[in-house]
């Protein structure tokens, strides 16, 4: 920069750009916002989401965490520029002085568009891969899967285990055994949602919808209805558990006996 008649080289321009006060301040704010969103993603969902009891649930939670982290820099840029402008505010009853007449900036528009395209592609590829993994796995386990026929009615879930010959309103499942839910409704639409298993599918009249999962942790499950189905929609819920093979068998025989005695 010794001779100001010379046009600055690209390297010079970048250096002077980052030495500008507003750019420095914006960069600091950018780092703060990016960090905030990253931390928010890492902390928020694991803290509040229910226990992970299947691969599907793990995949849902991972998407929420990782997509927050990936979008943190983009959120950081947007919010840094907005915050910087906010801090530069002009108050009073007369308008501020005119700003620089920048109408557009070709490289910025191109870089921004490319960056958001890459971001969208990451999200798309991630989703497609996950979907594929899940369907391949479901296909592989479809023969060995235990079948549970789920019937939604206003406002009750009924579970029929054809293999075991029992019918209950409680969803108990053995651990590490693939399970296939065959879901129907006898009246209006419901949506079968075993919360901790991370799967969900609508119950429709006259059609059987299928969803598969493999519970891989022991513990309680909440079963809810996720589609408004009338007056008592809020109360169309039940519980169940993922249990060891032995516990499950003894539960089955218990139900069989009480069914036989009744």
């Amino acid at each position: 920069m010794s001779d100001h008649n010379l046009a600055p080289t690209p390297g010079d321009r970048a250096t002077t750009f980052f030495k500008r006060n507003d750019v420095r301040r914006t960069s600091v704010i950018f780092i703060l916002w990016t960090a905030t969103f990253t931390i928010l993603g890492i902390w928020l969902y694991p803290k509040f989401m229910p226990r992970i009891m299947s691969k599907e649930m793990l995949s849902a939670e991972n998407i929420m965490i990782w997509f927050t982290i990936i979008s943190a820099p983009i959120a950081g840029i947007v919010l840094a520029l907005a915050t910087n402008a906010f801090l530069n505010m002009h108050r009073g009853d007369t308008p501020p002085e005119e700003g620089p007449a920048v109408r557009t900036n070709g490289p910025v528009v191109v870089i921004w568009t490319v960056a958001s395209t890459i971001f969208a592609l990451v999200a798309i590829v991630w989703g497609i891969v996950e979907l594929n993994v899940q369907s391949v796995e479901a296909a592989a386990t479809s023969k060995s899967a235990m079948i549970v026929e789920v019937t939604g009615s206003q406002w009750l879930w009924t579970f029929n285990y054809p293999e075991q010959g029992i019918e209950t309103h409680q969803l108990n499942l053995p651990i590490n055994r693939p399970v296939e839910f065959d879901i129907r409704s006898v009246d209006v639409n419901h949506s079968f949602w075993p919360v901790q298993l991370g799967v969900k599918v609508d119950a429709n009249a006259m059609v059987t919808t299928v969803v598969r999962t493999t519970p891989n942790k022991l513990g309680e499950i909440d079963v809810k209805c996720a589609e408004l189905c009338g007056i008592l929609h809020a109360y169309m819920e039940t519980t169940g558990a993922v249990m060891t093979e032995a516990d499950f068998d003894s539960w089955v025989s218990q139900v069989q006996q009480s069914g036989a005695s009744a």
């Binding site: 849902a60 402008a85 002085e97 007449a101 528009v109 589609e227 408004l228 929609h233």
Partner: protein
């Protein structure tokens, strides 16, 4: 010039004494509408024999629905006849038209406050009618939201019963959706936009009046739903729940049918106006961005809403004539309904969003005193969103089970919307960059929008990904997400637009202090409210529930606290709007120093807006030094 102005003011109030149109107004409309409704009700009731017995005729079990739908139709038609909407078309039938004097009378010049209650063709009158209508609807819908949140403040609450709760959820939903669709294009699209493009009025002034008064007839119909057992299905009105529901459903579907007619009329009118009536020299790249955004929005509504109307006609037929379009037991399909609904439903959210965003893009350059950053990117963003939005509807049906193999393709189109959405952010932050924003009320909305829409956008990315949606679908998380986009983004944009254009529409400045108080109450409350709801959804609380388990108690209590803050803020805003209308500081012609055309006309804006039509030589964003 001066002589021209004096001439205009000296123009006598037209008084075509013998003409029928001078005697018609909202009152005659209501009377004739009620009369039509009553006659239809009694005629049909007496022709259907069993209905008086209270017994159900096995051959025609749905007489009540037939009766109600016909009565509501009769009300709507009767009202429109009574207010004189069909006088023009009738004259055409007999080979004549309204006389010039009658047309001038319909424009309402010099008729004071009375013209707001008449079939008035002046676009500025229609704009004010829409503004008052929208604010009323938002007030009613907001009150319902307060009742919903009050009931959800604690688990096991007995504030309202589940029956009332479900009705409220449906009524809140549809009231807000209708209000939000017209919140920016109604008041500002009608009042401001024709002036902005340098036109004397809309392309079809009589259709303009028709669009408002048709919409008006939907209001009593929607209100009647409350007395007919509510809308227990949510505003999505999924079949077969909607076929099972009580008579309130008939009111719901008639509301939608009437509303769809109104938006079709308004959409065609606004599009035609912008395409054909721009001032000389206003090439497409010189059109203000608000006009572009609103036009794309209404153009998107033109193909979208007819499918909603169609789905409602089919629901009505299922309900009243035992057809089985959506009854799976008889060969129909509930999925058919879901498709028809969401083919409207997903473009519809962008119909709501775009005018709000466009208003903020209009505001930002004025208050930052910089040109709009990359006009082309803004147009591409709007066009990209509109184009993609018709290809994404089935992301609402990922978990419905209708075709799992199509979840992938719909996920791709949905994720791609983040690219044009990114351009919208770029335009706003690019405009802000290196500027010193003038912190007036409209500008604050720009900042609130950026934050809210960012949160809405990021959470939308999770929801668009099928494996995450498997968990989140139908939960409170979804509710929080779309409130961030529709309320946090679109309504914030519309409120910014109101603060911006208020001086031109009322001649007075909006009370600033009340505006600031309202802004912070609303925005902080809003974020608390829906942050709590995001957490409740992540924890696993389904949406549209009247009650919930104890584990969700904290997040729901936080949400309710936030909701009350929003409520207080909105009441303050309402007070400010009403109070300033009469007692506010008199506004100068161009209080913000904007360069768009609406600020070149005085208040009250004269009939036909301009003495002399302007000629445009540049776009309206020539701010800044060092051009």
């Amino acid at each position: 010039m001066t002589t021209l102005v004096t001439e205009q003011h000296a123009r006598p109030v037209p008084n075509p004494k013998k003409s029928l149109i001078t005697k018609l107004n909202m009152g005659t409309g209501v009377i004739l509408g009620a009369l039509f409704a009553a006659i239809t009700y009694y005629l049909i009731r007496h022709s259907l024999q069993t209905i008086t017995d209270g017994a159900v005729d096995p051959l025609n079990p749905n007489q009540n629905d037939q009766l109600l739908i016909a009565t509501m139709m009769a009300w709507s038609i009767g009202f429109l006849i009574g207010i004189g909407a069909f006088i023009g078309p009738f004259r055409w039938l007999i080979g004549r038209d309204l006389t010039a004097e009658e047309q001038l009378y319909l424009a309402g010049d010099g008729q004071g406050i009375k013209r707001y209650f008449k079939y008035c063709t002046d676009h500025k009158v229609v704009g004010i009618q829409y503004l008052v209508g929208v604010m009323t609807m938002l007030g009613v819908g907001g009150t319902m939201a307060m009742m919903i949140r009050t009931n959800l403040a604690s688990p096991g609450s007995k504030f309202i019963t589940p029956v009332v709760y479900n009705s409220l959820v449906g009524l809140h939903g549809i009231t807000m959706i209708v209000a939000m669709i017209i919140v920016a294009t109604g008041p500002f699209g009608n009042y401001i936009m024709p002036i902005m493009i340098g036109a004397r009025d809309m392309a079809f002034p009589r259709l303009n009046a028709l669009s408002w008064w048709v919409l008006f007839t939907a209001i009593p119909v929607l209100c009647s739903a409350w007395f007919l057992g509510g809308i227990p299905t949510g505003w999505t009105a999924y079949a077969p729940l909607s076929v099972q529901a009580g008579a309130g459903m008939d009111a719901f579907l008639m509301t939608i049918i009437i509303f769809a007619i109104s938006t079709a009329v308004a959409g065609a009118n606004i599009t035609a106006t912008v395409v054909t009536m721009r001032a000389k020299g206003m090439k497409w790249n010189r059109v203000p961005i608000f006009v572009i955004g609103s036009t794309i929005s209404v153009a998107l509504a033109i193909p979208a809403f007819p499918t909603f109307m169609l789905s409602m006609i089919m629901t009505g037929m299922d309900r009243s004539f035992n057809t089985t379009f959506f009854d799976a037991h008889m060969g129909g399909s509930g999925w058919l309904y879901a498709h028809l609904f969401w083919i409207m439903g997903h473009p519809e959210v962008y119909v709501i969003l775009l005018p709000g965003v466009a208003a903020l893009m209009e505001i930002a350059p004025v208050f930052v005193r910089k040109p709009l950053f990359s006009f082309n990117a803004a147009v591409l963003g709007f066009a990209g969103i509109a184009g993609l939005s018709v290809l994404v509807w089935a992301h609402h049906m990922y978990i419905s089970g209708w075709a799992n193999n199509l979840n992938g393709p719909f996920m791709i189109t949905t994720e791609m919307i983040s690219i044009p959405t990114g351009l919208i952010f770029l335009v706003l932050i690019g405009t802000l960059w290196r500027g010193k924003p003038w912190m007036k009320l409209p500008m604050l909305s720009v900042f609130a929008f950026i934050w809210n829409f960012l949160i809405g956008g990021i959470t939308g990315i999770y929801l668009s990904d099928v494996p995450a949606d498997n968990y989140l679908h139908g939960s409170m998380f979804v509710t929080a997400h779309f409130h961030f986009t529709l309320m946090g983004a679109a309504l914030t944009g519309a409120i910014g637009g109101l603060a911006f254009w208020y001086p031109k529409m009322t001649g007075r400045m909006l009370n600033e202090r009340a505006g600031y108080i309202s802004f912070w109450f609303v925005q902080i409350g809003f974020n608390v409210l829906f942050f709590g709801m995001f957490v409740a959804g992540a924890e696993g609380q389904p949406r549209r529930v009247a009650d919930y388990a104890h584990q969700f108690a904290t997040s729901n209590l936080i949400s309710t606290a936030g909701a009350y803050s929003v409520g207080i803020g909105m009441i303050v805003l309402l007070w400010a709007v009403i109070h300033s209308w009469r007692h506010g500081k008199i506004a100068p012609m161009n209080p913000w120093g904007s360069k768009t055309l609406e600020w070149t006309v005085p208040y009250p804006v004269p009939l036909e807006n301009f003495d002399e039509l302007p000629v445009i030589t540049s776009d309206p964003y020539g701010y800044g030094k060092g051009k």
